[in-house]
Amino acid sequence: MKTKRFIPYIFIAPAFSIFLIFIIYPGILGFIISMYRTPYSFGPSVFIGLGNYFSIFKTTGFLEALLRTFLFSLLVVPTIYFSSLGLALLMTSPSVKAKSVLRVFFFLPSVLSGVITALIWDWMLNYDFGFLNNLFTILGMRNIPFLLNPMDAFLSLVLIMAWAVSGFFMVIFIAGIQSIPQELYEAAEIDGASTFEKFAFITLPMLKPTSILVIILSTIQSMQLFDIPFVLTGGGPGETTTFAVEKVYNTAFINLNMGLASAMSFVLFVIFLVIGLTQFKVSREGQFLA
């Protein structure tokens, strides 16, 4: 009987060990390192308590990078939401043919790595070598500095990220739409509801839990973005596309300041934790309401 009580723990032990070794332990170590000043030359570190946390917002430009990241999320999350919902509605519409082929086509960008995505779009948008600007030259039009103008570069990244991940969220929305009982639509049709009314009063409310999931996941994903701006714009022009994670990277591996970078990482961890907990609370409430 006593042995039987331990059996479930034995089964979860391998997964928990991996979680402990690769998530919990490095996290604790990172927090400890964040309380040290690490010199440039890998010499002995000096304990400074919360000194790095005070420095973060005073001198390092991390606050600006964080605000930039929030603004990026503010623009990209609605873009992702509406484009993936739109694609899902299209893919579940009875009037669209070859749906299975189209679904693969739209899903494909989400299986590409961020680096490949960035290289593809550099090939498309580069001022001198890009496909689009070469086409404009042939048509006698002026080249567009997609990646050289700060605003254009920022907006290009919003659209590129939406392109890269909408396919993935489209699949989530498709599952959500397909789980809506057909009887609701039949009843609405009997009552004479229009297409728009069916969408606004049946589809959207029934997709609330899915919508919350998509918004939370895309928010976390957009705030963690690193590879695409790193490869495509290098964080530029200037620092206009340097987001929080790239700021941490630069601090750790260019400035070789591991202590400060660890403090920045911990701040980001707290932000993501708050977002994650919010999602958990909202989706639990959503379950009770549904």
Binding site: V46, D128, L148, A252
Partner: protein
């Protein structure tokens, strides 16, 4: 019958155990050294063949070459060191970041070279600051290997089309250089006149040509003085006139792609590009090199590479021996001949190297003459350059926070700051970091 089978099985088992035992003993006696390396491209097969040569001479030593892309090199090496698993040997651009973890090979020099440490340092030190570490800490922390110098390559075909003759001994002034650029663009010979690598080190050459410096001898950042602003204003004006593509500095496009594709007639880079340019198929035009243009000062910067060992190695003697072998005169000569490199060895620089290729000999002659005429006199760097990049706290700050300089140069190019504002920001930031560094070392 069964007895015979049993005997055969027994013999097989015994032989297998012996074989495994022998393998174990031989592996246990073999020393494996990890060598972290970044390649400029064509040098990879050369270093691999040198390692094979060394292993033939020392069968008890195996060298694992860990080839890491240059863009990831500093990060990867830093992670390995911070994680407590540094390599035994590494190629590096500078000793400064590794000064507290590098192996001091001074004890091994007399037995390997037959020279005293003093003599060896004097004979070996070419362009780099090995003497600085020896003079200040009585340690030999790394060995200068080869040195690249900044170089200005040009497309001979496009120059001919524009009707311009490139100088071979006397450098152009900035005014002459600018008017050549104007001629190139106006004649339609190339879309851009010049493509310029996006690094603070490359830009700093303009700073020295204008008579500027990053730090003064009192440890104050003075990059924003009149000469610094002159250098940055000149650089920015080349972008305004569309002589240089913005994509390189404001975007993330590699500078070389413009030269390689014939979109830019000149390419401001360094001698490390020579092996790649000499490879068939890299470019489909005739190329040459000219002396770096000058303003108030004829300044030519070098970018040395060093080889260093790490204190944590289990085999310090073997590491030191390999380092000394790799940078010995015959091996270094082989290396430089095959790659068109400049040796960072004082004796070899004085004797000169026959590169065995008439084109390469003429290219290297221009570069070495330029170096000798410039302020980088052999073994004698000007004090401001040493202070800015090589030795002391000032060099530590420059090497740690150079991205701020790049960012502010980009701000000046994109027009969000004037050149004076951009360099004022750099000076303020560098001086703040210097104050932090001094406060933390008390």
């Amino acid at each position: 019958m069964f007895k015979e089978v049993f005997v055969v099985k027994k013999v097989f088992v015994v032989l297998s155990v012996l074989l495994v035992g022998l393998m174990f003993v031989s592996f246990a006696q073999q020393i494996t050294l990890t060598f972290a390396y970044f390649t400029d491209g064509p040098d990879l097969p050369v270093i691999q063949s040198l390692i094979a040569q060394y292993q033939q001479l020392h069968p008890d030593i195996k060298i694992n070459l860990l080839n890491i892309p240059y863009s990831d090199y500093a990060q990867k090496l830093s992670t390995m060191i911070q994680g407590g698993t540094p390599p035994d040997i590494a190629r590096a651009g500078d000793i400064i970041p590794y000064q507290d973890v590098a192996l001091n090979i001074a004890p091994y020099i007399p037995s390997y070279t037959g020279e005293s440490v003093d003599e060896w340092v004097k004979n070996h030190s070419g362009f780099t600051s090995m003497e600085y570490w020896y003079d200040t800490r009585n340690e030999v922390l790394g060995i200068p290997w080869d040195a690249g110098a900044h170089a200005l390559f040009y497309n001979k075909d496009e120059f001919e089309k524009a009707g311009i003759t490139a100088p071979s001994t006397t450098p152009w002034t900035w005014d002459q250089w600018e008017s050549a650029m104007e001629k190139i663009v106006n004649s339609g010979a190339a879309k851009y006149a010049l493509t310029y690598e996006k690094t603070s080190y490359r830009w700093s050459n303009l700073l020295y040509q204008a008579g500027g410096e990053i730090w003064n001898k009192d440890g104050q950042c003075v990059i924003n003085n009149e000469n610094g602003v002159r250098a940055l204003s000149f650089f920015v004006s080349l972008f305004r006139k569309n002589f240089i593509p913005e994509s390189v500095w404001i975007g993330n496009t590699p500078a070389f792609s413009y030269f390689q594709n014939g979109l830019a007639a000149m390419f401001y880079s360094g001698t490390w590009m020579i092996p790649e340019l000499m490879q068939k198929g890299t470019v489909n035009f005739n190329w040459g090199v000219m002396p770096l243009p000058m303003d108030k000062v004829n300044a030519v910067m070098t970018g040395p590479k060093v080889i260093l060992g790490f204190k944590s190695t289990k085999y310090p003697k073997q590491v030191a021996d390999f380092m000394l072998w790799l940078t010995s005169k015959p091996i270094l000569t082989q290396w430089c001949q095959q790659l068109g490199a400049i040796p960072a060895n004082h004796n070899l620089l004085e004797e000169g190297i026959d590169y065995g290729n008439p084109n390469l000999n003429s290219v290297m002659k221009i570069i070495l003459t330029d170096l000798n005429n410039g302020t980088q006199i052999q073994g004698n760097w000007p004090a401001n350059f040493e202070r800015d990049w090589i030795v002391g706290d000032t060099a530590v700050i420059t090497q740690t926070y150079y991205p701020r300089l790049v960012q502010d140069i980009v701000n000046a190019i994109s027009g969000t700051m004037t050149p004076q504002q951009a360099l004022n920001d750099v000076a303020k930031y560098f001086n703040e970091q210097m104050a932090n560094l001094k406060a933390s070392s008390k």
